[in-house]
């Protein structure tokens, strides 16, 4: 039932998330929403995302951006950098989803949810730093 036909769509941004298992999840948010807000509000099936509820005290909302989008993102703060450094599988275009707020230029962008950990089925040698 969609009676919102006359509702302005000018502040809506569509984001595609490539989940850890390769599935593509598409969701829509408003300009100003953070990517964490989108994941939580739209109930996207991304395991353990946003454990600290966006307070820059974890790195579970780690996302990988396309190059051309990454360049246009707001500069990273020291606080975000500290937490991002702890994230698994860090890349050149990584950011924390809770700090990235939707802007119009992000419409239809694709972000990738990186692996949270090395394949848990492999056993780890206890002599190494676990």
């Amino acid at each position: 039932m969609d009676v919102l036909l006359f509702f302005s769509s000018e502040d809506k941004v569509t984001v595609h998330f490539i989940n850890r298992d390769g599935d593509k999840l598409t969701a829509e948010g408003k300009v100003g929403d953070s990517l964490l807000d989108v994941v939580v509000d739209k109930n996207l099936d991304i395991d353990g995302f946003g454990a600290c509820e966006g307070t820059l005290a974890c790195s579970t909302c780690h996302l990988i951006f396309e190059d051309h989008i990454f360049e246009k993102l707001d500069a990273i703060t020291d606080e975000e950098m500290d937490m991002l450094d702890l994230a698994y599988g860090l890349t050149e275009t990584s950011r924390l989803g809770c700090q990235i707020c939707l802007k119009k230029f992000m419409n239809n962008m694709t972000v990738r949810v990186p692996e949270a950990v090395a394949d848990a089925r492999q056993s780890i040698d206890m002599s190494k730093n676990s």
Binding site: A51, S59, A116, I124
Partner: protein
């Protein structure tokens, strides 16, 4: 059954008037939809009507009958998560809604003294049982020191997180001691959030609380469930030498899943070191740790973890079922059956732990363990060294 029919009639009348009141210009579009909905419900096929009439009554929901233990073995629901699925809660994990005099008394005492319990903050399913007093009428609560906000965001824990939580309440050690003395508790568990924003991680604060407590009541048994203090062994020492009886620190899961489950600042080796060091500086202390099952670990991993813990001379082990606290946290990968938990209990006893508390609802400070530990600590005290 009459309740249902009556309800439907009233509901329809209410909907009609509501429709006129609330909806403005859009009303016209919705109106027809609601209208047709109403018309549809009054012309249900007979078999549907019968289905509703013979269905559950309000009585069935409030009767208070819990799932029969004998039916647990027959539970046919999925216990291992498939892709895209969210597992349903099996019957052996359903608990009573916490009510009762003792529960309310505890809750109001805590509020009036401005204390926090991990029972509430982390939504423990046993809160009704432990606070209610259980069969032995020993109400137990696990007091959370240093506030209700943690500096880490682990993916299994729903305690609030912030980069810079409010500063420590310097009166907390005194207030906590006073409160516990007021209750007349004889076994208390003190735990805390991680405070990476404080230089010693809060170790001094912790130690002071224990010593105040022991001063007020030397007979009280104190267990401390501490953070890893970021591996700062001096901090571990401070707490271990404060006069406590049991030093607990949870490794949470098998080494292979540490990175996935816990905050990256925590790891297995560091946690094991905390436990080893506590024993080293205070050989009389009893060490204890806890593992959550159901996060995707294999049996081999659990067994080898238990061996590692025993080799580190950890005295007591508790095993419980991980339950997803909110949708932001990790999904449950598997619901381990009560029989499997019993198996791990046997394994733990065979490996030589002084005590292995193992069950779906067992948590690090679950009351059953305390009762036993109380005996254990008393035994140790009277033994001639």
């Amino acid at each position: 059954m009459a309740l249902l029919q009556r309800g439907r009639c009233c509901g329809a009348a209410a909907t009609t008037s509501l429709r006129r009141l609330v909806l403005g210009p859009q009303g016209r579009v919705c109106e027809s939809h609601v209208c047709s909905q109403y018309r549809a419900s009054s012309s249900l096929p007979d078999e549907k009507k019968e289905f509703l009439q013979n269905g559950p009554d309000l009585q069935d929901f409030v009767s208070g009958d819990f799932s029969d233990k004998s039916m647990w073995a027959e539970y046919k629901g999925n216990l291992k998560r498939q892709k895209g699925e969210r597992l349903r809660l099996p019957p052996w994990l359903k608990t009573e809604i916490p009510i009762g005099k003792n529960y309310n008394k505890l809750k109001s005492t805590l509020r009036s003294l401005n204390l926090h319990t991990v029972c509430e903050e982390a939504r423990c399913p046993n809160i009704g049982e432990c606070w209610g007093g259980g069969e032995y009428a020993t109400a137990t609560a696990t007091i959370m020191l240093m506030g209700d906000t943690c500096t880490r965001g682990c993916r299994f824990c729903s305690v609030k997180t912030a980069k810079n939580p409010p500063p420590l309440d310097l009166n907390e050690p005194y207030n906590t001691a006073k409160a516990i003395a007021e209750w007349g508790l004889d076994y208390v568990v003190l735990t805390s959030v991680d405070r990476d924003d404080i230089l010693d991680g809060g170790a001094e604060h912790f130690a002071k609380t224990v010593s105040h407590l022991k001063e007020r009541n030397s007979k009280i048994l104190v267990e401390c469930l501490t953070p890893d203090f970021r591996g700062d062994l001096k901090a571990v020492e401070k707490v271990a030498l404060s006069g406590l009886d049991v030093y607990a620190h949870n490794v949470e899961t098998v080494p292979e899943l540490q990175r996935k489950v816990r905050d990256p600042r925590a790891n297995f080796k560091q946690s094991l070191q905390v436990l080893k060091h506590a024993k080293k500086v205070q050989p009389d202390v009893i060490s204890k740790t806890s593992i959550m099952l159901g996060l995707g670990e294999t049996d081999e991993q659990v067994y080898s973890t238990m061996k590692l813990l025993r080799e580190a001379d950890v005295d007591c082990l508790t095993l419980g079922q991980y339950m997803q606290p909110t949708k932001r946290h990790l999904k449950v990968e598997e619901y381990v059956t009560p029989d499997k938990f019993k198996h791990w209990e046997k394994v733990g006893n065979e490996l030589g732990f002084h005590y292995t508390a193992s069950g779906p609802l067992v948590r690090s400070s679950y009351k059953a363990g305390e009762f036993f530990l109380k005996n254990l600590v008393e035994k140790r005290k009277t033994k001639v060294i």
